[in-house]
Structure formats: structure tokens, C-alpha cells
Amino acid sequence: MERLNSKYITAHPIRRPLRIFASDPMQARNPGNRITIEIQNEEVESGPKGSRIEVIDYDGARGCFYPPVDLNDKDILMLNGLEPAESDPRFHQQMVYAIAMRTLENFEYALGRPIEFYKSKTKPRLRLFPHAFYGANAYFDPGLNAILFGYFCADPIDPGPNLPGQIVYTCLSHDIIVHEFTHAVVNRLRKNFIEPTNPDVLAFHEGFADIVALLQHFTFQDILTQEIQKTHAKINTGKSLIELAQQFGYATGANQALRSAINTGSDAMPKRLSPVILEVHERGSILVAAVFEAFFNIYQRRIQDLIRIATSGTGILPSGDMHPDLVNRVAKEASQTAKSILNMCIRAFDYMPPVDITFGDYLRALVTTDYELYPADENGLRGAMIEAFRARGIYPEKVVSLAEESLIWEEPIELPWLDPEKIKWTNEFYTVARNFRPNIINEDVSQKKAPTSSANYKLDNEDDPDSYLAKSLHKYAMENARNLDLDPEHPIQVSGFHTSFRVTPTGQLQTELVVQFTQKDDTETEKMGGIPLRGGTTIVVGTDGRIRYLISKPLPSASLREDARKRGEQRLDRQRAYLAATDLKDPQMAYGDQNYLSQRSKMRMRISALHQGVNS
């Protein structure tokens, strides 16, 4: 009987299966659309209310609640979660929770560390409201620490394949859930990326959220194989794969999906980035198109041999159906390629500046992160990415060429190394290792705390500026401000630090400490409509304490090095110019009062305003 107490027997299942719509209810008739996905099995109460995410079904438009789903209900467990149904609010809750958890997992996998959302006493979790309001919109609200999904009636005259006037739930769209959830994660990783300091910042938020949603399409096996069969492996023509939020788009009478991965220009002449493209979704779609093209090119390269084998070397598929084995093999390549691109796109966050991101910075971060893990670029991922960005006119500033070695961030030779012993970095290792999710449910069962008291749940030191490590890093920054492109005249904040672990293809454990320093200059905040001029530096530290990369956005300060000061001045000019350009397009500018003027940038940075809904 002792055996029954053994770890092996008492362990809980690691995964929990749940059913979802793979795209949205409009595709419900498509057999590949009702699927079961697996997510981490965590302790979950009715809601679902997990440790980091909870679904609360309050309908603000009607002032009522809908009863929460209990995923541990025996009958529901037996069914792998509720059957997809538009008419049952509990299925909606299940789907929102499942997709949010799946997306979170993808981030954690790529980043090599757990992610914890911002929390306060009254808002200990990221909250998801599946039926928050009436309206054709959905948004992440940082103040509320929540994602709000709206519902609305489909266009009575032009509803596309929907029923005229039927209710459309944004919380039943895979793409909308992933998109909004990604906003929440990005906001956690870089909280200043919602301050519109240049045309790319908010566009990056939007584009990146679409990239994650898009690439996750390729993890759904059934849809993938169907589309490969239908398009003869030309997956860039398969609508279900490359279009985003189909039902939403059609239901709003637009006669098309909300957005697409390739609707920007033609293959020969892709739409290029230009200073006049300011609308954030439009600008973001150029980033999406670049990443998608890189994905598609790598995919094609990877299936070439399969196609040749299947066609006796001609490489030309005959008409008629493809062999199902070939379809499956091609699908495998497609989903693996999507996975590596998604990982690359997410990992790049560790190599991004803390403020004022541009698409060019993002390209450099992508190249650096990939170089770190795969120095040889056997798969041609970096090359394809660089080419796709170049074709769309996305150029980083201050690089001499688009060669790989000039795109990789610089190593600062002037900076003294950090002493890992002295800053007690190793203490972090244990915390991170211990808190990696899969362990929690199995190891802490006996002393599990009530889920509401998650206060002593300290996973992530970014919330803890008082830790010894934070203090040591701050001291280091003060001592080396000038060489870190930080202005000694302004206070320096250690706004984030974390250790990441990754396994390289050669089996080595790569460990890095990523630190973000930020500072701000408030002299023009009011003129700038409520957002300060921020400066900041990200450093990436190796286990030996060597500062391997320095990614800086300096303030325009006379105490900085000549080159840094100049870059700071250019950033200030750019921020002013961007403000002037958006002012001209802002209809409220004509009539806004002084209060509006001093807060206008803040108003524009609400993520709710990022959606092509009523806020245009």
C-alpha cells in the first residue's frame, strides 16, 4: 500500500485538455474548428480562477453576472471540457481561459522563465471579462488589470456568412483572445511600450500581438492539414491560416477578415514603411507581413525535399489530392517552422531597449537573440528575417549595413564586469528554478495556500526593488552611468531584472541576467501631452559577469558621451515630430481644452484606443 503514497502515484496529471473553437464560431461547420488543446494543469476554481488568470463573467451592459464554469466538475472533466457552444456562457469562459493559458505557455517556453502579471491587493490576477460590454471591440485595460471583451450584433445588411443581426462574441475568437492577451504580456515585459514616443511604438504593440495570434494558427493540426491539402502546400493562400479574426471582420460589414498577414502590397512590391503611415494597425501590419514572409520562405525551403521525394524529383505537385502522408509531413514542417519563428519573436524581448522601441530595434533584437542560440544560422532564419524587413523598408538606425554582424547589438568594452558573487546573483537561480510552473501543483499540494492569498507568491523580482540584487544593480548603474548611456543628473531606476535559462542546440545551458534601467525627464511632459521623455538601457550579463550587450536609449544630456547625447537629441525631436503629426490627425484637437492638451498623449496611449473600433 505504501506504493500509493509514492510520488509517481500521487502526482497530478501535468496537462489538462480543454475544448475550443480553433478560429471562431463562423467556422463552426468546419470539422477542424472544434478542437481540444492541452494546457498546464494548475489548481483552478470555478471561474475559471487559476493562480495568475481569472475569468469573471460580469456583463457591464446589463449589470448581471453569468455563472462560472467549474472545470473540475466530473462531467465536464469527462468531456475534456464543455462542448463548443455559442449559447452557453460557461463555454465562453472555458475558451478564454484555455487560450490565454496556452498563449502564456508559449511565452514562458520561449523566454525560459515564468511570467507573473502585475498585481495589487485588490487585483491579484489578470482578469478576463468575456462579456464586459456591448460593442464591436475588445481591449486590454492596464488600469483595470483586465482584458475586456465586447459582444455585438452582426451587421443587419451585410453580415458576411453570419446571420444578420446575430450576436457576435469577441471572446469566442481565438485571434482576438491571443491578440489582447499578448498586449497584457507585452505590457508586463515592457511597460513603457504603450507610450507613443515614435510612430513605431504602438504599432509594435499591435503588430506583435497579431504575429503571436497568426503563428499560433499553425499549431492547430486539423486546420493546418486541411489548408495544406486545399492549397497544395501553398499555405500563404490558405485563408483560415493567414487571416485574423474572420468573424469579427465579416460581422462588422467589412466583407473581409479584420486583418491578414499579407494584405500589404504584392510579392514583388511589398508595402513599405513610410513616415506617413501613422495608423497603428496599418503600420503594425507591415511588421506582421515581414515576419510572415520570413516564416513562409523558411517553410518553403524546409518542404522542398519532401515535395521532391514525393514527385520523383520534379518538385511539381500533380493536380488532384496530395498524399495524406505527405500532407502530414508538410504540416509538421509548417508547425515546427511557426514554432521556431514564434520563439524567436518572443525571445527578442530580452534584447530590447526598455523604452521607445522602433521596428529597426526589433530587427536587431531578433538577430541578436537568434545569433546567441544558433550562431551558425543553419536554418537561414536570420537571413530570411533580415531580407523580409529590408524589402519593406524597415531599417535600423545607426548601422553601417544589414550584414548580420552589424545588426547584432554592440558589446560595450568600456564597462567593468559585474561580480556575480558580490551581487548574489546565484540566489536567483534557485528561485526561478523552483517557481517554474509544472512543479507547483505537484510539490506544494500539502501546504497549498488558499488561492485568494497569493501575497507571498513572489515569483518575479521585477516587483521587488528592495531586493539585494536590485540594490547592487542600482549601485553599479550609478558608478557607471556615463558608460551605460545613463544621465547621472537624473535618477536611475532599476525597472526590471530577470535571469533566463535556455538550452542551446549543443545542449549547453545558457544563463543570462537581463537588466533594464530607466530614467525620465519631466521638463516637457505637459507639452508632450502627459508623457515624459524617457531614457533607458538594457544590459545582458553573462554568467561570468561580463556585460555582453548594451542597448540604450539615452536622454539628451550634456553629461553623456557625444554620440549618446546626439542620439538623445534626435529622440527628443522625433517624439516632438510624432506628437505634431498625430495632433493633426486627432479630431479632438480642434476643440480640446487645456486639460485635453496636457493629457492628450496619455489618452491616445490607452490600449482601448488601439482598436479599430469607435476610437478609429
Binding site: R62, K123, A590, Q594
Partner: protein, 434 residues
């Protein structure tokens, strides 16, 4: 797109004007918050061609006469010296906002003979694209007025709602005035809806105004500009409020009724969820369905302003820019076109767009394009709902330009000081050399 007319052509028109050097005049009528400009071009026979730009107001100034009196004054002004009957050669209605056309809702116009009526292409009766835009604007205005009325009566201190309500009222369709413009003058004027789609040139001439070249800078048929006039946000807004106009005034139920639980019940059954949502948060969510009216009112305002006819008259050396209330879209296209940019550099008279508001005059135009000695007229009367109109920075920028003279309709003394003429109460005149 053809080039601008050559200077030689302009010289011909100069020869035609009778006494050498007699300037043309632009009269600005003080209509409070609105526009009414009369352009008088000297004819060889000593008479004048008369062009009226807009006639409307939404709020009279302290010293303004009533709109009816203003209309009377304008009609008296355009009486032909020979037979005493009023005649306007060209009547321009830049766009259908009340503050530009309300004066046409007056039977007095029935006695006026009009040579040509010019309106933006968005007013063309049978153009489906134009009709779609007009219908959107009308429906938006109606919905906004209804909803904001409720918001104001609920809370009379809600300044944002008041200001938005005014904007929506301004956009309400103006049947009386539009009827006059289409069909209410003494004769049957020639109608032009400008610019014509696929027009071969950005300019034209008309026998009604010999010697005048008219450049049409907007509203373009370009999809980007149309998006400004027909904002996608408008459609989604309507979708959102449409159902509300149903008898219930309630949003539709997303589920069968028996799914819903009251907050009290929920609190008892699911305290661990209920407690994670404070009362404040709940209120916030309740407002999420309603916060969009004010934003929408300004989107609509911009959309309608975006339909503004933007005209440049070239008469000899005089180059007069009448941009209506044009917005970013039209300006942007003009500033991006090297030929039109060149033309804008030669402007000698500028009717300041949109009562001097922020979005209607790009800084680039004032700082980099506008030349010396420009006469600028601003028809404006500050109103407490919109304290930032006119924008002081814009006036300061204009003042910085060498030789630039500015007349504001609400400050006639300052205008006289700057060199304009006050001809009767509430009428300021600029003399523009030909």
C-alpha cells in the same frame, strides 16, 4: 494631372481688369461662430463679379447682428447697380456644417439670381459614393444628438458632453438651407460638384468668371481622404448604438434570460470571484459601453469638415486660398503635390481654415510655404464650449510671418489697426492687389 496655368495666361486676365491697379476686395461678415465671405472682383466695365463663400453661424457674437439681418445685408450688397436686382455670380458652399450654411435657410434668397453654385462632390445628389457618406453623417449626427441630450440632462455640468452635443448639432442635416442651395434661388443656377472624378486637371475656368483660374485642392476622391470623410469608426459606432434605438432602449441579451444572475446572488454563491471585482471596477465596466459618444462627435466633426471644398482663385497677381474647414487629408495631399505646393507658395490671401482651430492649418504651411505679405482673415467668435478655437499658437505663428496682416471677425478694431477697412458694423474688408 496637368500643370498649373502658365503666367502668361494670368497676364491676360490682368489686362482685362479695367482700371490698372484696382484691387479686388474680400469682405468678412461677423456672423459669430461661422463663415460668410464675399469676394468682389472688378470688371472692365466698372462693375464687379461677386462670389459668396458660405453664409452660416451656430452662435452669434456679442456684437453680431442676427443671421437674418446678415443675410439681408449680403443680399443688399450684391444688388446689381444697373437694374437693382440681386445677383451672385458664383456661390460656394464649402461643406454642409450649420456654421457654414445656416444662413441659406431663409426665404430672402428666392429673389437672388445665382450664376453657378459650387459644392464639394460629396453633395452630388445621385452619386452613390457621395450619398453613402452623407447618409453616414446624418445618421451619426442624429444618434449623437439623441444620446448626448440624455447625457446632458443627466448631468448638466458635463462639459465634454455639452461640447460634443454642439458639434453633433452643427452636423445635423440642414434641410432648409440645402433646399435653397439646390433649388431655392430666383433662377436655375448651374451646379458644379467639385472636383469632378477623373478631372483632367486640378484647375478650371468658367465663362461666369472670366480671367479667373480656379484650382480645386479638395476634397479629393483619394481613398485616404474618403476614409477621413467616411471613418470606419462611424460604421462601428452606429452598429453599437443602433440596437439601442429599439423600443427597449436596452442592449440585446447575449444569452437566454435564465443564465443571468444578479450581483447579490452571485456574491453569495461565488464570493471568491465576486470579491475580486470591486464596486468601482463594476461601475467602470458599466460605463465601457457608453464612453464613446464624445470621441465620436469629434470624429464626425472632422469627417464633415473633411468634405470641405478647398479652392485657390488666381486673379492676376492675387492668389486667394479658401480652404473651408479642410482637415489633414486635403492639406496633406496638397502639400505632397509639388505643383500644388508651388501654387500655395504664391498665396496672397488666406481665409484661415476652420475658425483658426488646430487641425485646419498645418504648421508646415505657415512656416515653410506661406510667402510674405499675406492677408489672413479669421472668422471666429470664441465660445466657452471650445476654448481652444482659435488656437493662439497659430495666430502667433501667422504674426511672425513677414508682412502678414490678420483680421479677426470678433476684433474689428485690431483689424483696422492692421490695415483692413471696416465698412459698416460687422463687416471687415481686405483689399487684395491684382
Amino acid at each position: 494631372m496637368s500643370l498649373q496655368p502658365t503666367p502668361s495666361k494670368l497676364n491676360i486676365s490682368k489686362k482685362k481688369s479695367n482700371k490698372a491697379g484696382e484691387p479686388l476686395t474680400v469682405r468678412m461678415y461677423d456672423v459669430g461662430f461661422g463663415d460668410c465671405f464675399l469676394l468682389l472682383i472688378p470688371k472692365p466695365d466698372g462693375k464687379k463679379y461677386k462670389v459668396l463663400f458660405d453664409c452660416g453661424s451656430i452662435k452669434l457674437g456679442e456684437n453680431s447682428k442676427s443671421m437674418k439681418e446678415m443675410v439681408k445685408l449680403v443680399i443688399k450688397e450684391v444688388k446689381d447697380t444697373s437694374d437693382g436686382s440681386p445677383r451672385i455670380d458664383v456661390l460656394v458652399a464649402t461643406h454642409r456644417h450649420k456654421d457654414h450654411i445656416s444662413g441659406f435657410d431663409d426665404p430672402a434668397w428666392a429673389e437672388v439670381e445665382v450664376g453657378e453654385v459650387w459644392m464639394p462632390w460629396t453633395e452630388k445628389p445621385n452619386d452613390p459614393k457621395a450619398r453613402k457618406i452623407r447618409e453616414l453623417h446624418a445618421r451619426l449626427a442624429e444618434n449623437l444628438v439623441n444620446r448626448l441630450k440624455v447625457a446632458i440632462s443627466d448631468d448638466s455640468t458635463n462639459m465634454a458632453a455639452k461640447s460634443s452635443f454642439e458639434m453633433a448639432m452643427n452636423a445635423m442635416s440642414n434641410e432648409g438651407a440645402m433646399n435653397t442651395l439646390y433649388n431655392g434661388f430666383a433662377n436655375d443656377p448651374q451646379m458644379r460638384y467639385l472636383p469632378e472624378e477623373n478631372a483632367s486637371a486640378t484647375w478650371f475656368t468658367t465663362p461666369t468668371l472670366p480671367g479667373v483660374t480656379i484650382n480645386v485642392l479638395g476634397p479629393s476622391h483619394d481613398p485616404d481622404v474618403i476614409t477621413e470623410m467616411d471613418p470606419p469608426a462611424g460604421q462601428s459606432y452606429l452598429k453599437m448604438v443602433n440596437s439601442e434605438l429599439n423600443e427597449t432602449m436596452m442592449h440585446p441579451l447575449p444569452f437566454r434570460k435564465d443564465w443571468a444572475i444578479t450581483p447579490d446572488e452571485y456574491q453569495i454563491k461565488y464570493p471568491f470571484l465576486f470579491n475580486d471585482l470591486s464596486n468601482d471596477d463594476r461601475k467602470y465596466l458599466e460605463l465601457a459601453s457608453f464612453g464613446m459618444d464624445e470621441g465620436m462627435a469629434s470624429v464626425l466633426d472632422r469627417a464633415l469638415n473633411g468634405t470641405s471644398l478647398v479652392l485657390v482663385f488666381q486673379i492676376g497677381k492675387a492668389v486667394l486660398l479658401f480652404p473651408g474647414d479642410a482637415q489633414w487629408g486635403s492639406w496633406h495631399l496638397a502639400l505632397d503635390n509639388p505643383d500644388l505646393r508651388k501654387l500655395l507658395k504664391t498665396v496672397t490671401f488666406y481665409k484661415v481654415g476652420h475658425h483658426g482651430s488646430h487641425n485646419a492649418t498645418p504648421v508646415e504651411f505657415v512656416q515653410d510655404i506661406m510667402g510674405k505679405n499675406v492677408l489672413a482673415m479669421i472668422s471666429v467668435n470664441p465660445t466657452s464650449n471650445w476654448p481652444m478655437v482659435p488656437k493662439e499658437d497659430l495666430i502667433t505663428e501667422l504674426q511672425k510671418k513677414e508682412g502678414c496682416k490678420i483680421a479677426r471677425s470678433d476684433k474689428p478694431e485690431e483689424a483696422v489697426h492692421a490695415g483692413f477697412t471696416l465698412i459698416g458694423e460687422g463687416v471687415i474688408e481686405a483689399q487684395v492687389p491684382i
